[in-house]
Symmetry: none
Subunit: 257 residues, 2 copies
């Protein structure tokens, strides 16, 4: 991403503090998912393991992104922040998504606890499509021209829509098999997925929409961070709630750990 | 916060060592709560999980605050410490509270082990009010003028009083259902809450009360640190004691872990 030459102290610190908040949220979520796993029966544990890996990977990348942001600007004598010349590394986010998005979709399949023969092919389709989605988006993200950004963005949208279609149709079927609390939670998870994943293409397109300079860079960083917290931490907590609701529906209240 | 241009070696080191003490207390508390969780029956474990997340998040932020304090001053040839020009980042405390205060109030609700239908709405009210309290306080904290500091402080006091009122009335009812040791512990937790939370508004108002310069900065940092240790570590230990007392009253002495 092309960085503006100068940011006000408030602008620089807003991104700085948001990235730090994301680190804290990812670390705490990792501890939570590791402990929460022990409150679940064996068939729901793989979903929590995946949740914990997602936020561990994200904690590492947010640490790197934070340091990269800090190094990209230097406090000037006037109290504003001037670009130091060191590049701000966008690739950390894409490497993060390349590893975590396949895990996130697999997590949802895992918590549905589908029959074994059905689960494998579904996971394979989703994992391949989500890796493809990230890889096709990256050349557009690093391009400063409008044409390639839109072209690669459109290419990346194809696997994105495919994932949403598969998850919605499968989740719809799975929800129909459940009742009460579980059904409501599964529907809420669909909404969370749509709300958080829907933000990424918007942030991606901001530079194309003519929103440029400092506002664009800040909006993209804040937006991606909030989306990541919702899509990783918030989503993992909902997956945990679904697993607990399903255990409750199965008449299992407590786990001997 | 506006930093004084110069601190004596004793003043600088007092804050420096207090921040380090807080890091050690948070790390040790994290280990304690993770282990203590396994001495509790399943229904009291969520309270310990929340305790452990609170101190893990605080350990991260105290690490950052310590580094920020260290970078904000440089040892001068005369043996005193001169402001380096790098800002001391106050936002770490607010980001910490934004994440931990909702967990702290949820923790108290969790240890009461209320019926499910009653617990959810109570937690939701408290979590929203506590997030609101922190967010309304921040604009006042970073303002160097008296007017905004008092205005935002008063706005933040509204959700603060609401939380205290809800916790007191609910804790009062919960305490009435208990007897002996649990009752005493619940009352002590009320007192600890009032004593520790009561300090934050005092520290917040110090600059308004005319206590300025080095004394004010040092008093605020030492005060916030002691309050955080009491409100996070001490409070978590009391929550553990309440859970153990309730287990004892229920006739459960040991947990197979």
């Amino acid at each position: 991403m092309h960085l503006p030459a100068e940011l006000s102290a408030g602008q620089f610190q807003l991104v700085y503090n948001m990235l730090s908040l994301a680190i804290a949220a990812m670390i705490a979520s990792f501890a939570f998912f590791v402990m929460a796993r022990q409150q679940l029966t064996a068939k729901y544990r793989p979903a929590m393991v995946m949740s914990s890996l997602v936020v561990l990977i994200a904690a590492y990348h947010y640490w790197r992104i934070f340091n990269s942001w800090d190094a990209a600007y230097a406090l000037s004598a006037s109290g504003s922040y001037a670009a130091s010349g060191k590049p701000f590394n966008d690739a950390y986010r894409y490497v993060d998504w390349l590893l975590t998005v396949p895990l996130l979709v697999a997590e949802l399949v895992a918590v549905l606890a589908l029959p074994k023969g059905h689960r494998g092919p579904l996971m394979a389709k989703l994992v391949i499509a989500s890796a493809l989605m990230i890889m096709l988006g990256y050349p557009g993200e690093i391009s400063s021209e409008t044409g390639p950004r839109i072209g690669w963005g459109l290419a990346s949208t194809v696997p994105f829509l495919y994932i949403l279609w598969v998850l919605y149709s499968e989740l719809g079927k799975a929800a129909a098999d459940n009742s009460g609390e579980t059904k409501v939670l599964l529907r809420n998870t669909q909404l969370l997925l749509l709300a958080t994943w829907g933000f990424y293409p918007i942030a991606y397109l901001l530079p194309v929409l003519g929103i440029s300079g400092a506002s664009s860079v800040i909006a993209v960083q804040i937006g991606y961070s909030i989306s990541d917290i919702a899509a990783k931490c918030g989503y993992g907590v909902m997956i945990y709630a679904i697993a607990r609701a399903k255990m409750s529906a199965e008449g299992v209240e407590e786990v001997a750990s």
